[in-house]
């Protein structure tokens, strides 16, 4: 491996890149619409980032460890559906109150955990390509939620939903719960990635799993843990998601997986594994959410072209952070 004489810059483009892209977007948004930097809009953007964001933090670990998970969107839909079914079913016996909410939350966490474990099992124990396993489970969960909802929408009982809603809309000190939970997940994730044995092991496995194995790292277990953790975070995201609209259908969480993966990569984590950073993922998620937000706040472009603008900005955000000599 010959390496060029790399005069390593102190602060690299890969760090500045995503931040610069985010700032550029914020400036653009502020110029286009005075309400853009208003507390309401900021709160909106942050809370809606929370779902994908919480999932993307988990995805950062999976990708850092050399894996991939295409099933998270469907999994979220399925978990949400299951949670609603369980809560509705328990309503007659438990009544509206904290216990039933806790039951729902537990259902989501357990379901996410099991779903993540299943992916992890197929990938690490049976040794099937992660792309295929999760492509398969993506189809399976999507189908299951359609089937649970009988093709339609699963709705939380209205009274229950009103009771549960503060979990999305409420908060402390004017900061809504999704934002708080997102922040907690990010901080824990960042610490885990940087300074925990687990994070270090993820990077080692993604970098070279043979080396990790020869260094007595429990490769299978760590890899499994990344999927389980992602599943669990999908559960957490679902807990925040359900009170928002109180429903789940086959169109819930469509393309979340792509968004989450895109956020991770925009943030500077390597798709092939070996290096990940959680703060980058957060920036990636914010960039993605802001694009949509800004497009909604202006009329410059035909709404038909929203996707094109989004695509362009995603590519540009990554162009910014390229520092290594291209291609070869």
């Amino acid at each position: 491996m010959t390496v060029k004489p790399q005069a390593r810059p102190k602060v690299s483009m890969s760090v500045i890149g995503p931040i610069a892209a985010l700032i550029a977007l914020i400036v653009m948004g502020a110029l286009m619409n005075p309400n853009f930097l208003g507390p309401d809009n900021i709160s909106n953007v942050l809370s809606r980032s929370a779902f994908i964001g919480i999932i993307a933090v988990g995805m950062t670990f999976v990708i850092t460890a050399g894996g991939l998970d295409l099933s998270v969107g469907s999994m979220a839909a399925f978990v949400a559906g299951l949670m609603i079914l369980v809560m509705n079913a328990a309503l007659p016996s438990l009544g509206i109150g904290v216990p039933i909410i806790l039951l729902g939350m537990a259902t989501a966490l357990v379901a996410g955990l099991i779903a993540g474990w299943l992916n992890g099992f197929l990938i690490t124990v049976l040794g099937i390509e992660a792309f295929i396993v999760t492509l398969g489970s993506m189809g399976i969960y999507r189908s299951l939620v359609t089937w649970l909802a009988d093709g339609g929408t699963l709705s939380l009982d209205f009274g229950l939903r009103t009771f549960y809603q503060p979990v999305f809309y409420g908060g402390i000190l004017g900061i809504s719960w999704p934002i708080i939970v997102f922040a907690v997940v990010v901080i824990l994730g960042e610490i885990a990635m940087r300074s925990s044995v687990f994070g270090r092991h993820c990077a080692a496995i993604g970098s070279n799993d043979q080396v990790a194995k020869y260094s007595s790292v429990r490769v299978g277990r760590v890899r499994m843990a990344t999927y389980v953790m992602l599943g669990l975070l999908v559960g957490v995201a679902t807990i925040m998601y359900v009170p928002r609209l109180g429903s789940a259908s086959s169109s819930t969480g469509v393309l979340w997986e792509l968004e989450a993966i895109a956020a991770v990569i925009i943030g500077g984590t390597l798709l092939k594994g070996g290096f990940g950073r959680v703060w980058g993922t957060v920036i990636g998620v914010l960039i993605l959410t802001l694009i949509g937000n800004i497009l909604n706040l202006t009329d410059f472009v035909s709404p038909y072209l929203n996707g094109a603008i989004q695509g362009l900005i995603i590519v540009l955000a990554v162009v910014l952070q390229r520092e290594s000599k291209p291609g070869a």
Binding site: D150, G152, L245, S249, S250
Partner: protein
């Protein structure tokens, strides 16, 4: 005695209305299979026009269908393939979206998309006689959506109603929630919302409620989702009306087709199920508590 096979090809349940339609199709089939042992049904759901064509080809090649009930994903691409089915001698029932060449179908059961837009527009105009500022959420970019919006725009023409924002909510609760939130941050004054679909209306209502804004007087959805009809019936001022576009039309089409096959009764023709304005006065007749939609 020989069994006859009816093929039913519909789009997959990717949004609320389609979900309701799927439910009614399945329910009609279950009911008819019970009632007519000599009938056999094949139900296929497709997530894109290409897949729908595959489904229809398979029904002809492997199931020897005697009749086809099709709700085309899109008109253009399905026209040729349905024409081929017709050429094989099968009975053709087209639902909701007409084919681009007239005269292929034996039976046409449809909603009225321009009418849906028109009724909605007219209601908007009448509810806001002094005019007002509204925002519009559109569906998935398709011909249907275009027809509805055109109908709507034609109806509010010259009525002093100003459309201050129009974005795609994709017939999706989450998307419409997001879009509505952003509309609310962008426009300090919004008098009413045409959500154009009940799923989108759910998202819109949630966004308004969360923002605590009281400038929005009402939200007009559409398609006759039971929760929405119930709110109309209960006199909810936020949901003063609804416009029907019944997903159950697929069941009607399947039933008529089945009857035609077993009884040779003359059932061909056009059944246009007009879009009706649901108001607190007539809401009861549109309320089906057992439907999933």
């Amino acid at each position: 005695q020989d069994t006859k096979v009816i093929g039913v090809s519909i789009p997959a349940a990717t949004h609320g209305w389609a979900g309701g339609m799927n439910y009614f199709a399945q329910a009609a089939i279950d009911r008819l299979e019970e009632a007519y042992p000599e009938l056999d049904f094949v139900l296929a759901t497709a997530s894109d026009p290409g897949k729908q064509v595959n489904d229809i080809e398979d029904m002809v090649a492997t199931r020897n269908i005697d009749a086809l009930v099709v709700l085309p994903f899109e008109s253009e691409p399905l026209t040729g393939p349905v024409q081929n089915v017709k050429a094989s001698g099968a009975w053709i029932t087209v639902v909701d979206r007409g084919l681009s060449v007239p005269g292929i179908e034996d039976l046409y059961v449809a909603g009225d998309n321009p009418g849906f837009g028109r009724v909605s527009g007219e209601y908007m105009a009448s509810a806001m006689p002094d005019g007002g500022k509204i925002v519009v959420l559109r569906g998935i970019p398709t011909t249907i959506d275009n027809e509805r919006v055109e109908g709507f725009e034609a109806a509010i023409e010259g009525k002093n109603i100003e459309v201050i924002g129009m974005e795609h909510g994709n017939w999706n609760r989450d998307d419409s929630f997001t879009v509505m939130q952003d509309f609310l941050s962008r426009h300090p004054q919004i008098d009413a919302v045409w959500a154009s679909d009940d799923d989108m209306a759910v998202g819109v209502l949630a966004a308004i409620e969360a923002a605590g804004r009281d400038d929005v007087k009402f939200v007009l959805g559409g398609a006759g989702m039971k929760e929405m009809v119930k709110r109309v019936m209960d006199g909810d001022t936020m949901i003063p009306a609804n416009v029907t576009y019944p997903p159950s039309m697929i069941a009607t089409a399947i039933e008529i087709t089945a009857v035609g096959l077993v009884s040779q009764a003359p059932v061909s023709g056009n059944f246009i199920i007009g879009s009706v304005l649901v108001t607190p006065e007539n809401a009861e007749t549109f309320y089906y508590p057992d439907s999933p939609f």
